[in-house]
């Protein structure tokens, strides 16, 4: 043994790979700083502003209006075919801005982490957020991290808020919807909800269904770029197409007539809905929207939408009329009509 050898007194750096979130990671001290420096900020990568400060300082847009929205994301399982909670948290808020006709620019990202969550899970989720933000050209500019005791969270909850800019002159909203408007749908419905249910409940499908989770801002902005007078946009999230239609019908005080046969539904979604007694029109989506445009602009609007991969299957599904205010009627397979309503709660599978 060489007597002159220096003794190494530093402990080796902890192995981050197998580490899990502890209460100390939310304590505001050095452990939290390490979590940020070693896991969250590197995984979020280039989409964050590097300056760690109490708030983000953003440039004022030259003209137009600001759009601001906030949403919280809880999902089980955290990872599912076609996305994860990170993709949802970025795309969901981008989509809310897009539905206001805005170009999303900045997001905040706040995490509520459950004690015991593996670092690796957090790193994967943050990586998804980075990729989703990059794809949509938005920057995550501020955020927060809290830790709750084991059993008091579901792994990760994320809140994102978003700011966007409306640079075009169109006013977009339910009150802008006019009698004679056409109702356009950007693609098939029900895939997100059924894809998650299939994973959660262990349904074995020949081809796994993927969530439709996608950022819709670019798709929507094409309409404004092409100067299509777009009266209203609405993404179809919880409650599905049915809730979106009913909400807008009620807010506009008009009557919608929709052709059920025109609404595309993926074969596997349809099959699962039939077996369980669910209605695809009430099932959640994360990458679909409806838009209302004057009848004379339908073909141009559809051409614009169909030129975008996220709305390649866009089509007209109905018309706006005067009539019983707030009503949505559906013409079904037998060409009879029925009402379409929101559900009072979640859809529950039937017994037989």
């Amino acid at each position: 043994m060489a007597p002159d050898r220096e003794i190494q007194i530093d402990c080796p750096a902890p192995i981050v790979e197998n580490q899990k979130i502890t209460m100390a990671h939310g304590g505001g001290g050095r452990m939290m700083q390490r979590l940020l420096d070693r896991v969250i900020l590197p995984a979020l990568g280039g989409v964050t502003l590097a300056e760690q400060h109490d708030c983000a300082v953003l440039p004022m847009p030259a003209a137009g209006c600001l759009a601001f929205t906030s949403d919280s994301y809880v999902v089980h399982p955290l990872f599912f075919p076609g996305g994860d909670i990170g993709t949802l948290a970025v795309n969901g808020t981008i989509n809310d801005l897009a539905m206001g006709g805005a170009r999303p620019l900045w997001l905040s990202a706040s995490f509520i982490l459950e004690e015991g969550l593996p670092f690796e899970t957090l790193r994967r989720v943050c990586g998804s957020m980075r990729r989703a933000a990059q794809a949509a050209d938005v920057t995550i500019v501020t955020g927060d991290t809290k830790v709750v005791e084991r059993g008091k969270g579901d792994g990760i909850f994320i809140n994102t808020s978003g700011i966007g800019v409306i640079a075009h002159p169109h006013v977009v909203g339910p009150r802008q919807v006019q009698p004679g408007d056409a109702i356009l749908l950007s693609g098939d419905v029900g895939r997100h909800g059924i894809a998650l249910m299939a994973v959660r409940e262990g349904f074995r499908l020949e081809t796994p269904l993927e969530s439709d989770c996608a950022p819709l801002a670019r798709t929507c902005l094409r309409l404004f770029d092409a100067d299509v007078p777009t009266h209203c946009l609405r993404d179809l999230t919880r409650g599905g197409l049915a809730s979106a239609l009913v909400e807008i019908a009620e807010a506009s005080g008009l009557a919608f007539k929709v052709d059920e046969q025109a609404i595309p539904v993926h074969a596997a979604v349809r099959a699962i809905c039939e077996i369980l007694g669910l209605d695809a029109l009430h099932v959640a989506n994360e990458g679909r929207f409806i838009t209302f445009v004057p009848a004379e602009h339908v073909s141009r609007a559809l051409k614009v939408l169909q030129g975008d991969p996220l709305a390649a299957d866009a089509r007209q599904i109905g018309v706006v009329e005067t009539g019983t205010p707030g009503s949505v009627t559906l013409r079904g397979a037998l060409r009879t009509r029925r009402i379409l309503d929101m559900l009072s709660g979640e859809q529950l599978p039937r017994i037989c």
């Binding site: 409940e201 009557a255 007539k257 074969a267 349809r270 099959a271 039939e274 369980l276 007694g277 009539g323 019983t324 009503s327 009627t329 013409r331 079904g332 397979a333 037998l334 060409r335 009879t336 009509r337 029925r338 009402i339 309503d341 559900l343 009072s344 709660g345 529950l348 599978p349 039937r350 017994i351 037989c352």
Partner: protein
């Protein structure tokens, strides 16, 4: 989609509708027994395609709706116990008991789980040996085989922490009770095709003969139902009283032998209380003595004082389940009784007649009847 689109074809429906218009010379009242058929009729507007003389009345075939309120209260009491994981089909979760429902028990901290197959409850039992797993076995002859299989396998696997709260009912005795009621106006039946797929059609011959009513075993798709109605009206117009099978693609006369054997192994026939209707002799299933160890009513006795289980006085679901009234004739419909605050199970079950009317028709706009 195969097996769906060909039975939802507008042109096919129109052909049945015009055939019915040609052959119908008098008013007829036909009952569709199953709640699944009721929903298809209301959802697809099948009744709007019929000649005005044909009246469809909705039957008792909604398992959730006829589960007695005492049984729902018992389920709620068991689900509240700290050692219990209570498993149920989704449909039962919102059904109102006297003062709560299973979703509320879950919100209050009870371990209530929605499952898709009774066999899943066995896996939960195997994974949680320190817990009592109780499955709410509700349904007609359609759910009975899978529920029987769960108990059968629990016994074979020695899963002593599994038990079943049984509220199984049988369709033919209920049809008989409806026909025996003094105010009965049913002249023909569409029998539930999936019940017959399990049990066969033997039980219906004596019923048809004794009460002089045609019975057509019918499927669930719009064209199945229109075809079933047509066959029934043909019999009525020709003065025939027969049991006919419209649903030949699923129903063999003898039913499913293996399923029937399993039912006979696990269950015995007993009188059962039907919510809104009362007790019907030999109308339900109960676990055989060999399986009584798995009976949740024995394992958790005296949970409920049945005198305290009270139906809301405004609710007319009993008359609706017997085809005596339609949901739209109920003064509480859409007012005191909505899916958010239901008075009866018929408003919340996915197969309940009130739920179907509320969901598809509650605002009757001019558009729903314009036939456009």
């Amino acid at each position: 989609m195969k097996y769906l689109d060909e039975y939802r074809d507008a042109e096919g429906a129109r052909k049945f509708a015009s055939l019915l218009a040609r052959i119908t010379t008098r008013p007829w009242t036909i009952m569709e027994v199953c709640g699944g058929q009721t929903h298809a009729i209301v959802r697809f507007g099948i009744d709007e395609l019929l000649p005005s003389g044909i009246t469809l009345v909705h039957g008792p075939g909604c398992p959730v709706c006829v589960t007695p309120i005492e049984m729902v209260d018992r389920a709620i009491a068991i689900a509240r116990r700290p050692e219990v994981i209570f498993c149920s089909f989704g449909d039962m979760m919102r059904v109102p008991g006297t003062c709560s429902d299973l979703l509320r028990v879950k919100a209050e901290g009870g371990d209530v789980r929605m499952i898709y197959a009774p066999i899943d409850a066995l896996e939960i039992a195997a994974r949680n040996p320190d817990k009592q797993i109780v499955f709410f076995a509700v349904g007609f002859e359609t759910t009975a085989p899978a529920n029987a299989l769960a108990v059968y396998q629990a016994r074979r696997r020695g899963l002593r922490n599994f038990s079943m709260l049984v509220s199984q009912v049988l369709v033919p005795p209920a049809m008989q009770a409806i026909l025996e009621a003094p105010r009965c106006r049913v002249q023909g039946f569409l029998a539930a095709g999936h019940v017959c797929a399990v049990m066969g059609i033997d039980a219906y011959g004596p019923l048809a003969a004794r009460f002089g009513v045609p019975i057509v075993v019918t499927g669930f798709e719009p064209l199945d139902i229109l075809h079933g109605i047509t066959m029934c009206v043909q019999q009525l117009e020709e003065g025939r009283v027969e049991v006919e099978n419209q649903y030949v693609r699923a129903v063999r006369p003898e039913g499913n032998r293996r399923a029937r054997d399993l039912l006979a192994e696990v269950f015995c026939v007993v009188p059962r209380e039907w919510r809104g209707i009362g007790e019907i002799p030999l109308s339900g299933l109960s676990l055989r003595p060999e399986y009584s160890d798995f009976d949740a009513e024995r394992r958790f006795p005296a949970e409920v004082d049945s005198r305290r289980s009270i139906e809301p006085s405004l609710c007319i679901s009993g008359e609706i389940l017997q085809g005596l009234k339609k949901p739209s004739e109920c003064p509480a419909f859409g007012r005191q009784c909505t899916p958010e605050s239901p008075l009866g199970a018929t408003m919340v079950s996915s197969e309940g007649a009130c739920a179907a009317y509320y969901r598809y028709r509650h605002v009757r706009t001019e558009a729903t009847t314009d036939g456009a």
